[in-house]
């Protein structure tokens, strides 16, 4: 195991494992969010569970660590990769060779991160964090109604989710490739699975602002 993480492949291993951890979290997050589309009570039950369950409370710092590691290593890897080509080409015509998402993972990740900060301050800081620090959390369902009645907030949210779609559509299969769990048969299969996963996650998240903006809920 000595200095495995000093190598370029080792660093990518960290990216892929933390990335797979984060996409798993996203699916959990989405399934919890979707309860808001069922009823106010169902959403409240889920929020109470998230605020009080011991496993969730342990997982929150682990999740934060997952994000931190993923972001930190993306910077380390990108800086090294930039150094590998100090002088660029004057003409570059490689568009058809690789997917747009695969060439812009760092930028896409940065977009996701910017909106994430906004998202945390709007929701998490007023909900779960309040329970952790002994404050009074806002009633979560009315928070959703309040925030998503602004069209610009909905647009921001959807742009964020679209960036996330592209990030996952490459990141998901790329993670398996980096771990070495891939071959010529599985490359197209995993690429297809990545697209399906990204579509499910992004459509799921987009459905929430749409639902609240168009007032499809009953209080």
């Amino acid at each position: 195991m000595s200095n495995i993480f000093c190598s370029t492949i080792g660093k990518k291993l960290i990216m892929s494992i933390s990335g797979l951890f984060l996409v798993t979290f996203l699916l959990l997050h989405l399934s919890l969010n979707l309860t808001a589309l069922v009823s106010k009570e169902a959403y409240k039950t889920v929020c109470d569970f998230m605020d009080t369950n011991i496993f969730i409370q342990i997982m929150v710092p682990v999740l934060a660590l997952g994000f931190a590691v993923h972001i930190l290593y993306s910077i380390i890897i990108t800086l090294r990769n930039m150094k590998a080509r100090p002088i660029g080409y004057s003409v570059s015509n490689r568009t058809e060779a690789s997917s747009w998402a695969s060439k812009n993972m760092f930028v896409l990740g940065a977009i996701v991160l910017c909106f994430l900060a906004l998202h945390l301050s709007h929701f998490w800081a007023k909900m779960q964090l309040q329970h952790f620090i002994g404050g009074h959390g806002k009633e979560a369902y009315s928070l959703l109604i309040e925030l998503f009645k602004n069209w610009y907030y909905c647009v921001l949210y959807i742009v964020w989710v679209i960036a996330l779609y592209f990030h996952i559509s490459h990141g998901f299969w790329s993670a398996f490739q980096t771990i070495g769990a891939n071959n010529s048969k599985w490359i197209p299969r995993l690429q297809c699975a990545a697209k399906i996963y990204a579509i499910i996650v992004s459509l799921g998240f987009i459905s929430i602002p749409v639902y609240f903006f168009f007032g499809l809920y009953t209080v």
Partner: protein, 247 residues
Amino acid sequence: MKFKLKIWRQKNAKTKGQFETYNIENVSPDTSFLEMLDILNDKLIKEGKAPVSFDHDCREGICGMCSLYINGRAHGPDDEVTTCQLHMRKFKDGDTITVEPWRSAAFPVIKDLVVDRYAFDKILQAGGFISVNTGGVPDGNTIPVSKENADESMDAAACIGCGACVATCKNGSAMLFVAARVSSLAKLPQGKIEGAKRAKAMVAKMDELGFGGCTNTQACEAECPKAISISHIARLNREFLCAKIQE
């Protein structure tokens, strides 16, 4: 056919280079790209100017010596060919063609379009071989190899080490080259024995020489003149990670 050529000129590794424009006329569509450069050089020599330096050797698409980044693509606009096998009929009459050297920190420009690809040899010296005892030649077929393994090994062994993967990759990564060499040996019983040691040594050398990391953009696979698959990169990752974990 006639063309306007924008060619990178650089006196030596230490000087700063720049593009220079040349016009060339009466080029047959059946001329190869390197022959077209020969015609240009002939003209430049007659005019008392310095000819354009570029790498070439076999001109049959198998030695891996020729390079050139032509109109933004390694080995030019044709698929699965080296520059020597690229013909002028692939361009339109009157086209402006930009010719640049491979760009990578690990492949410094020596002169004009010639880059130093010794870094690839250093990676091979680190582990791209099998150690065998000298002695009598063993009988053929003594060691059975399945058809699938033989095919996959041969596909990887098709790598000619031209460096198009490094030139094309946005990270200047040599992963496809290293993967092809590791894979071609890992699929055969003779190569398997030193598999773990080889993967570790070659990756360590690749990192040391300043190549970037792989971000799975698949650009290398698309531009490789031998169409080597990125599935070999998955195998390299597997070989390397398993070797490191077992350490």
